[in-house]
């Protein structure tokens, strides 16, 4: 990463930390929610935005992280170890999900990840000894490196530290041979092969790293909610994450955070406004409606997301960061058959 990216990352995190710790419990809750969503979006941006592999299973991968970390810390391990465990199992399951990507591409692979999501959701429900079934696994607040995580405020620092580390790691990754290989694979697997890139290997690395970050995000989500339940990690969550990186800007550097903040904070804002206007009974529906419409409108009118929108408003703004120039994956994701659309 560049020095500028480092400064921005740390600066934003410090700002979020100050807000989260100074403005009370609700602010801390929001900061945690944004940080966790940004982590999940970061992982998906790596897989979809940089490597060009569609995945609808990210929601379930977060679930794997949450259940793993929950069980580990419930068993008495330190939260830091438990989070690491969540990340590792997330990576392992993600590798399994990505395995068909070695043979399938585009649409077929997208459908395979959809199936993976459905199967994982099912496993959350029935692997009773590990997941406590449909009622969900209650997670006792752990201690992380000795600090008890018994409030929203206490989780702010670990969430943000992990977010910064993951963010810098991914930024750095994109400046290595592997990161550059991702970008070529995204544009065209054929070109990548011709250039001597081991395409399968690159894809698998994207799934491993993306799965690790998703697992860590899930672990933090479990600690934030003190519960890991099947309803929390459904296809809807996967769709939320895809929406975040699309709204933030696919394959852009600041996109995951911008998209996460938008998707997390918009419903909260609607909630507040709605409560003030006295229409709280249809709020959840309005939230959904706004969310769906935004996805559609962004995809049609600004497919490169808020990052592009912001950088157009302010030409030298955050959107001008490296990797922020062009976002859309190329032909590699196109269907190979009946393609007359």
């Amino acid at each position: 990463m560049s020095a500028r990216q480092l400064a921005i990352t740390v600066g934003v995190a410090v700002l979020m930390g100050v807000l989260g710790l100074a403005l009370g419990r609700y602010a801390a809750y929001l900061v945690n929610a944004v940080a966790i969503a940004a982590l999940g979006a970061l992982s998906l941006n790596l897989i979809i935005g940089y490597c060009g592999q569609i995945s609808f299973a990210q929601g379930a991968l977060l679930g794997v992280g949450a259940y793993t970390a929950g069980n580990l810390s419930n068993a008495g391990l330190d939260g830091a170890v438990a989070i690491l465990g969540g990340g590792l199992l997330g990576a392992a399951v993600s590798a399994l999900v990505g395995l068909p990507a070695m043979r399938l591409r585009g649409l077929y692979f997208a459908i395979a990840t959809l199936a993976a999501q459905a199967i994982l959701e099912y496993l959350f429900k029935i692997l009773d000894p590990l997941t406590n079934g449909v009622s969900g696994l209650v997670i006792t607040p752990p201690t992380i490196l000795g600090f008890p995580m018994n409030s929203d405020q206490s989780l702010v620092v670990p969430s943000l530290v992990i977010l910064v580390l993951a963010w810098l790691a991914v930024s750095r990754l994109m400046r290595t041979d592997l990161g550059r290989a991702f970008l070529v694979v995204r544009e065209s697997e054929i070109v990548a092969k011709g250039m001597g890139i081991d395409v399968s290997h690159a894809k698998m690395q994207a799934f491993l790293i993306g799965g690790f970050i998703a697992g860590v995000a899930g672990a933090l989500a479990g600690y934030a909610n003190r519960l890991a339940s099947p309803e929390a990690f459904t296809l809807d969550l996967s769709a939320d994450y895809i929406a975040m990186i699309i709204i933030g800007g696919l394959g852009t550097w600041p996109g995951p955070l911008i998209g996460a903040a938008f998707v997390v904070l918009l419903p909260e804002a609607i909630q507040r406004v709605g409560e003030a206007a006295g229409i709280s009974d249809i709020l959840s529906a309005l939230r959904e409606l706004a969310f769906g419409l935004l996805i559609i409108l962004f995809l049609i009118f600004e497919p490169r997301g808020l990052t592009a929108l912001l950088s157009r408003l302010r030409p030298r703004g955050i959107g001008a960061a490296p990797h922020g120039s062009v976002g859309a994956p190329g032909e590699s994701g196109q269907p190979q058959e009946g393609g007359s659309r």
């Binding site: 979809i48 569609i54 068909p100 043979r103 399938l104 591409r105 585009g106 649409l107 077929y108 997208a110 459908i111 395979a112 959809l114 199936a115 993976a116 459905a118 199967i119 099912y122 429900k125 029935i126 692997l127 009773d128 000894p129 079934g133 449909v134 697997e189 054929i190 296809l235 769709a239 895809i242 929406a243 699309i246 696919l250 249809i282 959840s284 529906a285 309005l286 939230r287 959904e288 409606l289 969310f291 769906g292 419409l293 996805i295 559609i296 995809l299 049609i300 497919p303 859309a328 994956p329 190329g330 994701g333 196109q334 269907p335 190979q336 058959e337 009946g338 393609g339 007359s340 659309r341």
Partner: protein, 305 residues
């Protein structure tokens, strides 16, 4: 044996409805290259529209046809307003926009009709057939037979009529179709219209079986295993795979689940396998993609480099 027959008949009935949904998905895929997440939304909206029309006292047949017409308009609008501006967008964006449409439709229905299940007006006579030791309600018979007949009818339409021929032309080779004077973009719109109308009907039929609620939108997801098993571009494959998966689910629910649970209770601490019938199609999907990605009836080599 009686149980097996009972399960088979029930499976065929739901399978026919799956087929109706999946045929629509394949139809859209063939001419637009898009796998449509909003198919479930069409089913749900179709059911609600039928409900509204039935409540006005219209005869059932008129109400259902009216709802199909409304859905045809909805489908056309989707294609013209949402899909067409995204011709050059990456696959993930196109899949996502149809998912967005599903979310919006669900929210809109939630605002208008609320979250609770609504009893669907009687469309078919009450009562049941009891023959050869099996017992099946008229509702089931009617929904199954209607869905099956319409699926077959649609396949015949697609195969044997001039419009069907133009559809096939436009789907197979856009350039050639244009060259011989077929208005391809109209054909694409037409495909979306027909597909949405079929889904609307399927939604209505499902509502007569299970009642009317937002959950109807979930039916769209079953289309994915069905079309992969049938072969992404085969309409007949969608029909056969729909019936197969309906039966598979029925047998899973009626035979496999009880047997498996008994075994698990004896040997492990898992006491329930939950809704196994819902996940079995996905397991089949994964196996299919790994070992026969072109599906049972798809053409080999369709997934080229």
């Amino acid at each position: 044996m009686t149980l097996a027959l009972q399960l088979a008949v029930a499976g065929l009935a739901t399978g026919s409805v799956y087929a109706l949904i999946a045929i629509g998905v394949v139809l859209i895929f063939k001419c637009s290259g898009v796998v449509n997440f909003a198919q479930g939304a069409y089913a749900m909206v179709g059911a609600y529209v039928s409900y509204v029309l039935l409540r006005t006292g219209l005869p059932a047949i008129v109400a259902v046809l009216g709802s199909m017409a409304v859905l045809a308009v909805f489908g056309t609008l989707t294609e013209r307003l949402v899909l067409r501006p995204m011709l050059k967008a990456p696959l993930v964006a196109v899949m996502m926009v149809t998912l967005g449409l599903l979310i919006v439709s669900r929210a809109a229905c939630l605002i208008v009709w609320g979250p609770d299940q609504i009893a669907f007006p009687k469309v078919f006579p009450e009562g049941a057939i009891s023959a050869a030791g099996i017992f099946i309600t008229y509702n089931y018979v009617a929904a199954g037979v209607l869905a099956l007949v319409l699926s077959l009818g649609f396949l015949a339409f697609y195969q044997f009529t001039p419009i069907g021929l133009q559809q096939r032309c436009a789907a197979d080779n856009t350039r050639a179709a244009l060259a011989i004077g077929i208005h391809v973009s109209n054909q694409v719109s037409l495909a979306w219209a027909m597909s949405a109308a079929l889904a609307g009907l399927a939604g209505t039929l499902l509502a007569t079986l299970n009642g009317l609620s937002l959950d109807l939108a979930g039916i769209g997801m079953i289309a994915f295993p069905v079309i992969v098993v049938g072969g992404l571009s085969s309409l007949a494959g969608a029909l056969i795979a729909g019936l197969l998966l309906g039966m598979l689910q029925s047998f899973t629910d009626g035979l496999l689940t009880p047997a498996l649970e008994e075994f698990l209770r004896e040997h492990t601490s898992i006491y329930s396998v939950g809704a196994l019938q819902q996940v079995v199609p996905y397991a089949l999907l994964v196996l299919m993609l790994l070992f026969r990605p072109q599906g049972l009836f798809g053409r080999r080599g369709t997934e080229r480099v």
